[in-house]
């Protein structure tokens, strides 16, 4: 597992996507899966920056990523407000234009694009863990 720390700012999303993209590509994932792994990680990191660190200017995001057999595991750790993705209702994808809500779309995409998405909050350590897993088909 490789780990790297980023300042929790949107300007680092490029590097965050590159980091997981390189590991996924070297691990043998095809272009489509690499794109989707990058998209899911971007959505996860964006949510942390926007929600967990809302109003916080010096937040830190720790990103770990590694391959084991045919599985990629991505772990994002933050020290902000707990933000449980499962508490966010699924977007209504059949709603028409005027009723369509954009909130929750990132989480919806994460769940669709990855095989597993887990969230663990450890208030005693002031840490939140988001783990995402995808297997090669």
């Amino acid at each position: 597992m490789k780990s790297v720390q980023f300042a929790a700012k949107f300007e680092f999303l490029d590097e965050i996507r590159d980091f997981v993209g390189t590991i996924a590509r070297e691990g043998g994932f095809g272009d489509k899966d690499v794109y989707n792994i990058q998209l899911a990680t971007d959505e996860a990191a964006s949510n942390i920056i926007e929600h967990a660190y809302e109003g916080v200017s010096d937040g830190v995001l720790e990103l770990s990523c590694g391959m084991k057999d045919d599985t990629i595991t991505i772990i994002l750790v933050d020290h902000g407000e707990p933000f449980d993705p499962s508490s966010i209702p699924m977007p209504d994808l059949k709603a028409d234009l005027s009723e369509r809500k954009i909130g929750g779309l990132g989480i919806f995409l994460m769940r669709k694009l990855m095989d597993e998405v887990r969230y663990d909050s450890h208030p005693e350590k002031n840490s939140n863990f988001l783990t995402m897993i995808k297997r090669k088909r």
């Binding site: 999303l13 996507r17 920056i49 059949k94 369509r100 954009i102 779309l105 990132g106 919806f108 669709k112």
Partner: protein, 111 residues
Amino acid sequence: MEITVQEFKHCDMITVKGRVDSATAPQLAQALEAANEAGKYKLVVNMAELEYMSSAGFRALLAAQRNCKRYNRGEVVLVSVPDRIREALELAGFTELFKTFDEPLLAVGHF
């Protein structure tokens, strides 16, 4: 991300290149709003050279579609959507909210 705007007789074409994420989506939103403020509500978004778009970009497109559709025959249509981005838009249920075209001329001709 790079945005260029080209005016046609019946619509404007907004070409977005590069990557749209939470960092760059505000620029896209701004370009779309600027068109509306200039009285343009028939917009073609050309994605031929777009490499990446997250839900932050989808949000900008959705807001623009709402604003444009308030006006008579106003609409945002998408053209030359790359496969990966099309798949994500489909997953998000967005392809039902936007007409998509394969060629810029077909999109411009729609208006």
